[in-house]
């Protein structure tokens, strides 16, 4: 009885959810194939073309529409996201590892770390910039102050992911390794790390995508050279052309590629995790 009413409602709900999730992207995707250079962000499409994609790579004859100033910003953002990913993940793993043992003040430290993701981004960005300019007296750069702001932001995510993974981790394999005369450091490299690798991958993905997208913190903290989100935002203030949409499609495809790599690596290591789970079941 109940499911006769509930199921259709839930189905509609899920449908709407997916529509709102992917709707904007589909619209952008359609508009990116607008005719150029005179077509704009409007429906219906004048005629289908790949003009804006060619425009993006400078393959079109010169026109009044300037090429998107995103090349350097893209490289910067990728570099920044990579740096952030590595740093935040290493810190996250180390911090989560520390939390496996109860220590004095563990509760306070936990909330201090997690607060990093709660604090409004604009405030963090502004604070970072004030701290750099007025207190410490250094110049702001995407690779220094913005990098710090990104690490502070993404580290709690990496930390929480690793905490969840280590929570389920059966420490007896580490003890077994110690009892075989293997030092704690080698044990971590040869036993713990391979087994928590799926979690590390997730933490890396979180940190990378959060940093790559990050806007409010970067706005104030990055100084003169802009990251990709800032550069894109900058182009809005002039006039919006479908070349932005084409670029959006490209970056989304890039993200999907990243996710696929993640998925493949995950698939490989989940097989290991399954083995571990089976072993735990017997215990």
């Amino acid at each position: 009885m109940e499911s006769k009413v509930l199921k259709p409602i839930l189905a509609v709900y899920v449908g709407l959810f997916i529509l709102f999730l992917y709707g904007p992207f589909i619209v952008l995707g359609i508009l990116s194939f607008q005719q150029g250079p005179e077509g704009g962000p409007q429906f219906p499409i004048l005629s289908w073309s790949t003009y804006w994609y060619q425009h993006l790579f400078g393959l079109t004859p010169p026109s009044r529409i300037a090429p998107l100033p995103v090349g350097e910003a893209l490289v910067r953002s990728l570099t920044l996201a990579f740096m952030t990913m590595v740093t935040a993940t290493v810190l996250g793993v180390m911090a989560a590892q520390a939390f496996r043992k109860r220590f004095r003040g563990a509760g306070v430290v936990f909330y201090l770390i997690v607060l990093g993701m709660m604090v409004p981004g604009v405030l963090t960005g502004l604070g970072t910039s004030l701290l750099a300019n007025n207190v410490v007296g250094i110049e702001r750069h995407w690779w220094s102050t913005a990098f710090l702001a990104h690490v502070v932001y993404t580290f709690p995510f990496a930390f929480l992911v690793m905490l969840a993974i280590l929570n389920r981790f059966d420490g007896s394999v580490e003890e077994a390794s110690w009892s075989l005369g293997v030092s704690p450091i080698t044990t971590f490299r040869k036993v713990t790390f391979p087994l928590i690798f799926p979690g590390v991958l997730s933490a890396m993905l979180f940190a990378f995508t959060l940093s790559f997208d990050e806007f409010p913190r970067t706005l104030f903290a990055s100084g003169r050279d802009q990251t990709l989100p800032l550069a894109i935002y900058g182009t809005f203030s002039v006039e919006i052309h479908p070349n932005i949409f084409a670029f959006g499609v490209m970056t989304t495809l890039f993200s999907f590629a990243l996710l696929s790599v993640y998925g493949i690596l995950m698939g490989l290591s989940v097989r290991r995790a399954k083995k571990m789970a089976m072993q735990e079941d017997i215990a």
């Binding site: 007896s172 394999v173 083995k275 089976m278 072993q279």
Partner: protein, 361 residues
């Protein structure tokens, strides 16, 4: 080394978790090259004791000596003490071969590859797993995992291996086979096994020596038959699960219980007055029998359990206490009993063990 040299020694080892005292000043000396079974109910601190000896936990007080050296402050990986976990704790991401080779490959001393291969193969062969080297831990059975865990430990040639309820995760059939094998493997190597178990049959069957642990203290330590025949305190008799235990009071050499008053030749010091008689020394008589060998305990027959070589008869006393009688079939056919019928149990008072607050006499 002769058998009487101690391999390890505990001096007043105490371990607390908050308010809970898991280990309460344990003194213990273990002989080299022996099989020691540590028997204790759950919560008695037996796993804590193993973890303290292994170095996974540090004692709050007391010292631990191993091969004549104080190892209390040594980290686990520098102790050279093997550990076999109840859940085996195999490395799931490595093959059986690499599991066994792990300590040799990654330990402090570099071992040449050729030697690793030889030792690992010999170790795998010893536990009877040749041919499974390239499998992963999820592709072998529970009993095989147990053997891998053992081989992985023994390949390091430790002088002491701690086994934490190693047979607990195996089914009954396999458990008995592994009991025999564990003993055989140990005898071939010059190594001491400290085997923790909650099963009294396992402890008595396997140990050259048995130590009984209760509430963080070792309450008796000796050979299996000395423990079986002469439990030092009533708690030990209780764990052995071979005695009918009666509460009552001991006064002036007389024990007053559900079976009347019996004169007692000697009693062992204990916190309470308890009268214990082994299941297989308790005998069944008709309710109106007159030629009883000792005290008369009126009971009602409940049921029987057939165990192959013997039958256990279950009775109930007037105050609803279950009493067991173990009749060994080699002693002849058991009597036919009617369920619900009243009988009398009796025994030779000389075979009873009495524990009392008023001990000496």
């Amino acid at each position: 080394m002769t058998q009487s040299d101690p391999i390890f020694r505990l001096e007043g080892v105490t371990r607390r978790y908050g308010n809970l005292t898991a280990l309460d000043g344990i003194d213990f000396v273990a002989e080299d090259n022996s099989y020691i079974a540590l028997l204790g109910p759950s919560g008695s601190g037996k796993t804590s004791l193993l973890r303290v000896i292994a170095g996974f936990e540090t004692p709050d007080k007391g010292r631990i000596w191993f091969q004549g050296r104080d190892i209390t402050d040594l980290p686990a990986h520098e102790r050279g003490i093997g550990f076999v976990f109840q859940n085996f704790a195999l490395f799931p991401h490595l093959t059986i071969f690499e599991n066994v080779a792990f300590g040799l490959r990654h330990g402090a001393t570099k071992v040449p590859d050729a030697e690793i291969t030889d030792r690992v193969r010999a170790s795998i062969d010893m536990v009877g797993l040749s041919g499974l080297e390239d499998r992963n831990p999820d592709q072998i059975s529970g009993g095989q995992k147990q053997r891998v865990a053992l081989a992985r430990s023994l390949v390091m040639q430790p002088k002491l291996v701690l086994l934490d309820e190693p047979l607990g995760a195996l089914d009954a059939n396999l458990r008995e086979r592994m009991q025999t094998e564990l003993r055989a493997i140990r005898e071939r190597l010059d190594v001491t096994f400290l085997h923790v178990t909650g099963s009294e049959t396992e402890a008595l069957a396997m140990g050259d020596r048995v130590a009984v642990l209760d509430a963080g203290r070792i309450i008796q330590h000796g050979t299996p038959d000395s423990i079986y025949d002469s439990p030092a305190v009533s708690d030990v008799a209780q764990f052995l699960n071979r005695f009918n235990m009666f509460e009552g009071s001991l006064k002036d050499g007389m024990f007053h219980g559900a079976f009347g008053a019996v004169s007692v030749a000697s009693a062992r010091p204990n916190d309470t007055d308890v009268y214990a008689i082994r299941y297989d020394r308790t005998r069944i008589f008709d309710a109106d029998a007159s030629d009883l060998p000792g005290p008369a305990l009126p009971v009602r027959y409940l049921a029987s359990e057939y165990l192959g070589s013997s039958i256990i008869f279950l009775f109930e006393t007037a105050d609803h206490k279950t009493v067991e009688v173990d009749h060994h079939l080699s002693l002849g056919e058991p009597r036919d009993l009617t369920v619900g019928q009243n009988y009398v149990l009796s025994w030779d008072p000389a075979q009873a063990i009495v524990f009392g607050k008023e001990s000496a006499r």
